[in-house]
């Protein structure tokens, strides 16, 4: 059980000279010596909390019951990490209270404390201890961990010689065998190959079935949708939505991009090679229905000559890519000396998708897709309304299924019999 009550966390943003990461005693002393009057005034009358204070979390309250898997979603900077850090006791809240009904294992990073020089075996013990297991517990689970990670052959090899896949597998295997009653998991499944990700998701589902409480943070909305029963949406440090996970996910999609019909991007500007930037994206401003085709368009800026292909994605309710397609044939941008802007328009035909929230993304890639020159995802989204055209007078429920294309269907009577 996890009860969060009016939680708040304030960070003091320190005034620091440009390009200096740390406070040096030298500078503190120097500033106190050069301006003793100001320092004295601060001691006598501390400055009221001004723009230097930043609330990463404010008035957040929610509850997760035992055995539930709760997903936390939100954009970058919404306060997800801060919340996890408070729940896992890495940092203290400024106000409010959290009640945890059991021991907490937090997995904010895969392989926390792994040492490259140590062998797989040694790292299992070290990492286990860091995550709060006792030595006896680790010894008891050791074989299981090794089997789960599939690294038995390399147990006595230093992990610096592991492939990144092996490394992640080992790290997750240790974490997956924790026995704490509450498990807090950050975006750790973003690494590792697809098959192992699936295995991890399965393991997490098992964990929840075992009666333990899980809090899960991810940008992978489909993972959230499959694993979690309950969802919480954080926005700018406050709880924007809570409840059934599918509702919260659609609230998230709704809030994050619905207002925008066109988005402009700031170029990052690479120093070498041709520059490819997706400059903007736009969708029609009017209400869209599944019965009419509509266009999603992107502007791409090229500098220098490069052969590219375009990938286009449609996501439904933030989860799986419903549509993933490309431009069929690579195209060459302008000559090396020139810069040019290209508009690319994708047409979504009528009755391709069923009503619901959809978001769109595009990548500009090299023809063999080994290089992603530019990528935007989930930046445009919209509700596709039902045009009610196909329904007829009887059927009024929601369409099941993600796509609803008009298929050729023929009906003929095979056998007619009469009862007389």
């Amino acid at each position: 059980m996890i009860a969060v009550d009016n939680l708040g966390k304030r960070y003091r943003i320190r005034h620091q000279p440009e390009g200096q990461r740390y406070v040096a005693l030298r500078d503190v002393l120097a500033s106190k010596l050069t301006s003793p009057l100001r320092w004295f005034r601060h001691v006598v009358q501390p400055p009221a909390s001004g723009p230097k204070d930043f609330w990463a979390l404010k008035d957040v309250s929610f509850e997760v019951k035992q055995g539930e898997v709760a997903g936390i979603i939100g954009r970058n900077g919404a306060g997800k990490s801060t919340l996890l850090k408070i729940l896992s006791r890495v940092t203290e809240p400024t106000e409010g209270r959290v009640t945890l009904g059991g021991r907490v294992a937090s997995l904010l990073e895969v392989g926390t404390g792994f040492h490259p020089e140590l062998t797989g075996r040694e790292n299992i013990f070290l990492n286990g201890a860091i995550l709060g297991m006792t030595r006896a517990e680790i010894i008891r689970k050791f074989d299981e961990i090794v089997a789960f990670a599939e690294i038995a052959k390399f147990l006595d090899t230093p992990v610096k010689r592991y492939s990144s896949g092996m490394y992640v597998r080992l790290a997750f295997a240790v974490a997956a065998h924790l026995e704490q009653e509450i498990l807090i998991v950050d975006e750790v499944l973003a690494v590792g190959d697809a098959q192992f990700q699936k295995k991890c998701l399965g393991k997490m589902g098992e964990v929840a079935l075992g009666g333990r409480t899980v809090i899960f943070v991810s940008h992978n909305l489909s993972a959230i949708a499959t694993l979690c029963t309950q969802g919480f949406l954080l926005s700018q440090g406050t709880l924007a939505s809570a409840g059934r996970v599918d509702r919260v996910i659609s609230d998230y999609l709704n809030s994050s991009t619905s207002a925008e019909t066109s988005v402009k991007f700031q170029g990052k500007g690479t120093s070498r090679g041709p520059v490819v930037e997706i400059v903007s994206a736009s969708r029609p401003t009017e209400v869209l229905t599944n019965g009419t085709e509509f266009n999603i368009s992107y502007k791409v800026h090229f500098a220098g000559q490069v052969l590219v292909n375009f990938f286009f994605y449609v996501h439904r309710e933030g989860s799986l890519a419903l549509v993933a397609t490309d431009l069929h044939k690579p195209v060459m941008s302008a000559s090396a000396a020139n810069e040019n802007d290209v508009e690319i328009v994708w047409t979504i035909p009528a009755y391709l998708v069923n009503p619901g929230w959809h978001s769109f993304g595009m990548s500009v890639v090299s023809p063999d897709a080994s290089v992603y020159h530019a990528h935007v995802d989930d930046v445009l989204s919209c509700m596709i309304e039902d045009d009610n055209h196909r329904r007829g007078p009887y059927f009024h429920q929601a369409w099941g299924g993600a796509v609803g294309p008009l298929l050729n269907a023929q009906l003929r009577v095979i056998k007619a019999s009469s009862h007389d």
């Binding site: 960070y11 406070v23 030298r26 409010g96 059991g102 907490v104 990073e109 020089e117 013990f125 201890a129």
Partner: protein
């Protein structure tokens, strides 16, 4: 089991948590030792080489200065001082940088932070124990049999441990807040080597300066080591010893207090 998190509540149950996480301290110390000896070619010999060379240099220094040798063989007289000094200096250097060195742990996982510098001191303590073996072989070589005084040695070892831990905690916490402290620690260590009675014995210090000199807590500890190893020679001055005890105790108390005070903010600053 129920756990409540709130502002200022981390302090509750801190010492109980420290006990619960004791195995982690063992693992951190073990990691540092294993990694160190894996990375060096000569491995464990490294722990012996440093104090042995330091000892040789100081014995040579005594000869050059024409310091009269006493009854005890000079290598043992000097080594009895090098031993605690080496422990203190390496414990101090390692623990003061330990929080920064384990920043990734501190920002990702909860455990009582006190474990990190303590593990660093423990690592230095293992080296100390290895070096103790070298002292034993030196004593065998010179046919010096220890007396009952040796039974008191653990007390001085404990003092050295407390002093290292206290100073280490204080500097470790300061290091998180003010990064330029890492330049100060080597200076403290270097300076301490010269103001501690390693090349000479405390009785070479003029009588009227002795009390002031004993404010350096290593003076009492080093004198104690010599006294225990060399069968009560040179004799101990109770006042100097008492002073050393007080300074060590205060250093430990101050270190723990300051560390505990700063600890809450580590994850936000580091």
């Amino acid at each position: 089991m129920k756990l409540v998190i709130g502002p200022g509540l981390a302090a509750k149950g801190y010492w109980r948590d420290l006990w619960r996480y004791r195995e982690l301290m063992y693992f951190l110390a073990w990691r540092d030792i294993v990694v160190r000896y894996k990375q060096t070619v000569i491995g464990v010999a490294w722990a012996l080489l440093r104090p042995a060379l330091t000892m040789l240099v100081f014995v040579g220094f005594r000869r050059l200065m024409g310091i009269q040798p006493g009854r005890a063989p000079e290598p043992i007289l000097v080594f009895a001082a090098v031993l605690p000094w080496q422990f203190f200096s390496s414990a101090l250097s390692e623990s003061s940088g330990s929080l920064i060195g384990n920043a990734n742990l501190i920002s990702k996982v909860y455990f009582p932070r006190l474990l990190v510098p303590s593990a660093a001191v423990a690592t230095a303590f293992v080296d100390f124990l290895i070096t103790l073996g070298l002292l034993a072989s030196l004593m065998l070589w010179y046919k010096i049999a220890p007396g009952w005084h040796l039974l008191v040695l653990p007390v001085f070892v404990l003092l050295a441990f407390g002093l290292s831990l206290g100073a280490g905690l204080f500097l470790a916490a300061l290091n998180v807040e003010y990064r330029d402290f890492r330049h100060i620690v080597p200076f403290i260590v270097q300076f301490g080597l010269f103001i501690s009675p390693i090349a000479f014995t405390t009785d070479k210090v003029p009588e009227r300066w002795r009390t002031l000199y004993a404010l350096n807590p290593m003076v009492g500890i080093i004198d104690g080591f010599r006294w225990s190893i060399l069968r009560g020679q040179p004799p101990l001055t109770p006042s100097a010893l008492g002073l050393s005890l007080v300074v060590t105790g205060s250093a430990l108390a101050l270190g723990v207090w300051y560390f505990r005070r700063m600890e809450r903010g580590f994850a936000d600053v580091i």
